[in-house]
Symmetry: C2
């Protein structure tokens, strides 16, 4: 296990990126100190381009000089490398269930959400948001499954925060921002009561307070992106 004083741990990120937020959440849970470098996504650093030549995207974790890219790959690397509570469950079947839902969140919520943020019009954006709402309905069943027999429906990891909570938790400020931006209540007490309770409970964690972005700032940031898209500015 690494994480000693001599370790060099550097995270290349962008404050607005939920994919970066995940890595911050994992480090906070593990109690790992790290150096953080904010990237200008319109003028990426040489270090970023050299460390992630394939995707040229944040987050990149640089551990003792070796880069690791892609947020879920980074999370699993952190879990396997640094001491502290495991993010993934110890039982192989529970691990498989957690990996299934984490992939689901990225493919069925994250991917259309990224498309929504690239949409030129509010109508186009609304179509993508509809897909996300449908995906969230299935995720409600996932939370029921993951927390079954764990004495509570509070987290995907059962009684404590785990891998899926970190992956989904990174989207929490954007879930709140969507209510303001478009009136979309993705996690709704009527439609998805477990996820609505999860949202509240996750937000109350010290972890969330320490790491998650301010919702007003996300709303402002989102509006600036929408305006740029509407004007046809490519980034």
């Amino acid at each position: 296990m690494a994480g000693g004083v001599a370790d060099e741990v550097k995270l290349l990120g962008h404050w607005g990126s939920p994919f970066v937020t995940r890595v911050k959440l994992a480090f906070h849970l593990k109690g790992v100190s790290y150096e953080y470098a904010e990237e200008d996504l319109h003028n990426k650093s040489e270090l970023l381009l050299r460390s992630n030549p394939v995707h040229k995207a944040v987050p990149v974790l640089i551990h003792n000089g070796r880069p690791i890219c892609e947020s879920q790959v980074i999370l699993q690397y952190i879990d396997e490398t640094f001491d502290g509570n495991l993010l993934l469950p110890a039982d192989p079947h529970e691990r498989a269930v957690a990996r299934f839902w984490a992939a689901y969140i990225d493919n069925e919520m994250g991917a259309p959400w990224e498309k929504a943020y690239r949409a030129r019009t509010a109508e186009e954006r609304a179509e993508w948001m509809k897909q996300i709402v449908a995906a969230v309905d299935a995720l409600e069943g996932g939370l029921r499954e993951c927390s079954k027999g764990k004495g509570g429906f509070f987290f995907f990891g059962g009684g404590g925060v785990g891998y899926v909570d970190v992956v989904l938790g990174s989207l929490v400020p954007y879930v709140h921002a969507a209510v303001v931006l478009s009136g979309d209540r993705l996690f709704d007490a009527g439609r998805t009561p477990l996820l609505a309770a999860w949202l509240e409970r996750f937000g109350e964690l010290d972890l969330a307070k320490a790491v998650l972005q301010d919702v007003d700032k996300v709303v402002e940031y989102s509006r600036a992106i929408y305006a740029r898209n509407a004007a046809g500015v490519t980034s």
Copy 2:
């Protein structure tokens, strides 16, 4: 570790699916016996619908009554549950590199390839194939990185077949079929010499001979799908 005589291991699959092929390759590498049930994708079994209610897709592994879905989740479950050579490397950084390229293959080659197979016209299909060719060029760099210092450029896993080889190996019959179907030489001795050598070497393995589909059958199957798409038959 499981894999004893008492274990019930059942795979729900479809002969044409590369995602199912991966699971077969992993079981062959680990020497695990399993029961195989071929699904009719136009009339899916109750067992499939109950075991994978979210995606309703193959492959599904049912191990001692518990379903595991999504091919890469299944591969990692097999690696963590059954005896035999590990698919993922033991070193955490090498594991991260393998997971990165495995995700890359699915996102940058698999996803556009699925879209190519849903295209209505040959022109539309050609556009998707162009994306795949560009993705393969970057993958050439991945093979160079994964096999660095491993005494040969033969496999992503270095001297032996590993996780990325299994993920990519499942596409081998489709790589050969593309030459016949559209003239696309995805792995080319001039453009991607390492991958062209990998393709030849992978095909020579007993593993490949035992598991991979016959290329002529894949060509015929693909032509039937193209014809159905052109006629506007939804499946």
